[in-house]
């Protein structure tokens, strides 16, 4: 930390201050220093970039860029700000993609949504937004959504025209004498989900892959700005339906930080408990999906069977099985009736009775090992360079887990250890997912026991302690929060105005974005058979990919 602070001292900054335990927050005086600074940062050992997030201050005429740099190894992070003029012609800055490869798509996203031009970016094309937003920047505060949407028929026509144009032209540049071709892997493909990979291939061999994303773009970051602080949770949880609790926890933490509210112990433990149940239900899908992509649906079906019991618990607690809306700023939304723990106990029993079977048949499956070993190998250095997180990072032996690095909710009081896997192949990612699942179930057991004891001794009151009051109007401020989501790190950057009733800006940084960036890198030179395998092993969800 000290070295990092010293490094910042050598540059002209408006301020350099400590923020939380592991962060330094700094604002660069001039954008001209950026390249020099990030080069020095990388030398210092801060090797990952989490995201690039512009905030559009319309009244001040400023486009503020936020860079979030992370050091996965030594747990020291830098939140770097720099101001740009917000006029479209002057809104430009040097790209850092050549130094931090993980910036590539994040800069493309900032360009597509805010019109920030990144000079010397190797591939500055639109990403995520659909064709009717071409040359429009939807997340700018002065963008007129009503006018845009009043013209829906023309917008759809524009999308169709663009599609037909690409259909006619996409193979024009190929050598007619070769067997090269372009395959569309998605968006309506048995294994793809709503994502499209333009697979440039020669027979079975892949030459390159260009992912085309945005098929489930809901402009969540914009929708959140239309809602109040409590209502925003329903947009936040739709980051991905499979693990919705932890994304709400992240958002609620950011709001609580700005409102300066401390939540009760009971709410903290409930966030752990619910969060792990959601993680478990997501991991069940991920494990099944991995085998589904190799043409074997049995594990997916078995996991569905067990997962239902965990969803039963969520239903008894919140009334909903998937989109629970169960966590809100100030605590958790509902009180807990202790009989609900019976449902949870049923789920845990079901898990314990079936986990050995799954391990014997699928985790130790010789054909799976034959197939997935040594395919899609990621080294620890690549994990750092591309800012990967969650099980993908841990499968390559990188000790990163935000529950331990930067404990939130009640994770600090838990008995928790890093679990990692050496090797970094698709098989290791599957193994990692399975071990992570088992760890989560252990956490659920710990949390359940703790709550039961505390309630019995009268320390916690399950029907009164679940919420503290959070004011409806928040002061001017900003906060970031990070949570270990099922798929990896989710970083939220919340900005509020004076007496705000709605968030001014919420940046959602989601892990699948970085993981999808890796597809081209991992699949070049492999065969078509490896696409579903590697895609499945990266544990990608299109919900948080597009947002």
């Amino acid at each position: 930390m000290q070295a990092l602070k010293k490094l910042m001292g050598t540059f002209e900054c408006e301020y350099v201050e400590d923020y939380k335990a592991t962060w330094i927050k700094a604002k660069l005086h001039s954008k001209d220093d950026l390249i020099e600074l990030v080069t020095a940062l990388k030398k210092e050992g801060v090797r990952s970039l989490s995201t690039v997030s512009p905030t559009d201050f319309l009244a001040d005429g400023i486009m503020e860029l936020n860079y979030f740099f992370e050091d996965l190894q030594d747990k020291r992070n830098l939140w770097l700000k720099v101001d740009l003029p917000r006029e479209e012609e002057k809104c430009e800055i040097e790209s850092i993609t050549n130094i931090f490869p993980s910036a590539s798509w994040h800069e493309r996203e900032a360009f597509s949504m805010f019109g920030v031009r990144f000079l010397n970016h190797p591939d500055l094309r639109d990403i995520i937004k659909s064709e009717d937003f071409r040359d429009k920047y939807p997340f700018r505060k002065d963008f007129d959504w009503v006018a845009h949407e009043s013209n829906n028929l023309a917008n759809v026509q524009q999308i169709v025209d663009a599609f037909k144009k690409e259909q006619n032209e996409n193979e024009v540049d190929l050598d007619p004498d070769s067997s090269e071709t372009i395959l569309n892997w998605g968006p309506t493909h048995p294994a793809s989900g709503p994502i499209r990979l333009r697979v440039h291939c020669d027979g079975e061999e892949i030459i390159s892959i260009d992912p085309d994303i945005g098929y489930v773009w809901r402009a969540l970051e914009h929708l959140i700005e239309l809602k109040d602080f409590v209502g925003a949770i329903v947009a936040v949880e739709r980051l991905c339906f499979m693990d919705n609790i932890n994304s709400m926890v992240g958002y609620a933490m950011a709001v609580e930080e700005i409102a300066d509210v401390e939540i009760t112990d009971f709410a903290k433990w409930m966030r752990v408990l619910l969060g792990e149940v959601a993680r478990v239900s997501s991991h069940f899908m991920g494990l099944g999906g991995f085998f589904n992509n190799m043409g074997l649906h049995t594990l997916g079906m078995w996991n569905m069977d067990t997962r239902e019991f965990f969803l039963d618990f969520l239903e008894s607690y919140s009334g909903a099985r998937i989109a629970t809306a169960a966590v809100e700023p100030g605590g958790v939304r509902y009180g807990l009736d202790m009989v609900m723990f019976d449902e949870l106990q049923k789920a845990l029993d079901k898990f314990d009775s079936s986990v050995d079977e799954v391990e014997a048949v699928f985790v130790n499956n010789p054909t799976m090992k034959l197939r997935a070993n040594n395919v899609g190998v990621l080294t620890a250095d690549e994990v750092h360079a591309f800012g990967l997180s969650g099980i993908v990072a841990r499968a390559s032996g990188v000790k990163t887990d935000i529950r331990i690095d930067e404990p939130y909710a009640a994770y600090g009081e838990l008995d928790l250890e890093y679990i990692t896997q050496e090797g970094g192949s698709s098989k290791d990612r599957f193994m990692m997912l399975f071990r992570d699942l088992k760890q989560s179930v252990e956490i659920i057991k710990q949390a359940k026991l703790h709550i039961e004891k505390a309630v019995a001794s009268g320390e916690m009151h399950p029907t009164k302690d679940h919420m503290v009051k959070v004011p409806k109007k928040l002061p001017k401020g900003e906060a970031i929060s990070r949570v270990e989501w099922a798929r990896g790190e989710v970083l939220m950057h919340l900005v509020t105005e004076e007496k705000a009733k709605t968030p001014y800006r919420l940046k959602l940084r989601a892990p699948s974005f970085n993981h999808t960036m890796m597809l081209d890198y991992l699949l070049k030179g492999q065969t078509l058979s490896d696409i579903p395998l590697i895609f499945g092993s990266l544990y990608i969800c299109q919900g948080d990919l597009d947002r």
């Binding site: 493909h189 197939r371 058979s529």
Partner: protein, 318 residues
Amino acid sequence: MSDLIFNAFVFPGLLYVLVWTVGLFWFFRKFMAALHKRVGPSFNGKGGSYQTLFDLSKLLTKESITPDGVNPYLFSTMPLLAVIFAMLPAAFIPWSSGFVVVDSTYGLLALVVLIGIEPFLLFLTGFGSNNKYSFLGGIRILTQSISMETSFLLAALSPAVLFSTMNLTSIVEQSSWFSFIVLFPGFVLYFIALLGLLEQPPFNIPDAEQEIVYGFYTEYSGTNYFLLQLTMFVEFMAVFAGAATLFLGAYKGVFFDSYFFFFMKMILIAIVMMTLRAATPRITLSQMLTFSWKYMVPLALVNIAWVLFAKSLWFMGA
């Protein structure tokens, strides 16, 4: 003449094939459902037994789409040819004592050749579809059948070598518990090669839906798709019946000989195939090639040597 019509349209011809397809399809779905811990078809008929009948008749009434830019003759005749060729082996199978439509000295050869033609017809369906995925599927099916048929033929030859005849009836008549044990390695090889020929896991490479969207099936719908599904199930029948005839003594049973035992043997092979299907992911094309040429073919040759050795030891006097 009336015998011939009966053979062609009732048993072991069209009607038998349809009933087998509907029945086996339903059995596969129910059996697979149990392995998957789910229910399977359950609404129509007892245990959902009408469901496949409805599904297949639905396919017949659906619009058959012929895509733009394909040769309609190639596209639509291939599924029909594929069914007919898949039905032919049934004529050479001794279904019960004394019942065989064509009692040929070259029965075994006919069986192997007719089963071996099938992949080429399916390749042509993929080739005729004018679709990149179908074409890739077609190429894969050729690659796979060429490498699997070698060991399939060698494994199928082992009973012929042992009993010095290619007549299927006389192979069945000469078989015994002891010959079953001698031929058991051959049976295992035949079964593995059968998985490759029928595109069953772990060798379901040509119609891998996650990779190439069902391969040669991609463009087919309605009646043509029905015919291709029918082809697959009829091929199951031919190959299972081949296995039962060559290695398991066909209709021979305990206490009495009957078609019933033949049927049970076929279902037994189907059950083993389904169980493998529920527990084995797909391997890649290159892994299949390595497996076939590095292990299967040499082992099949060793098996022939073993059968010859066993023959000289125990079967020469008989």
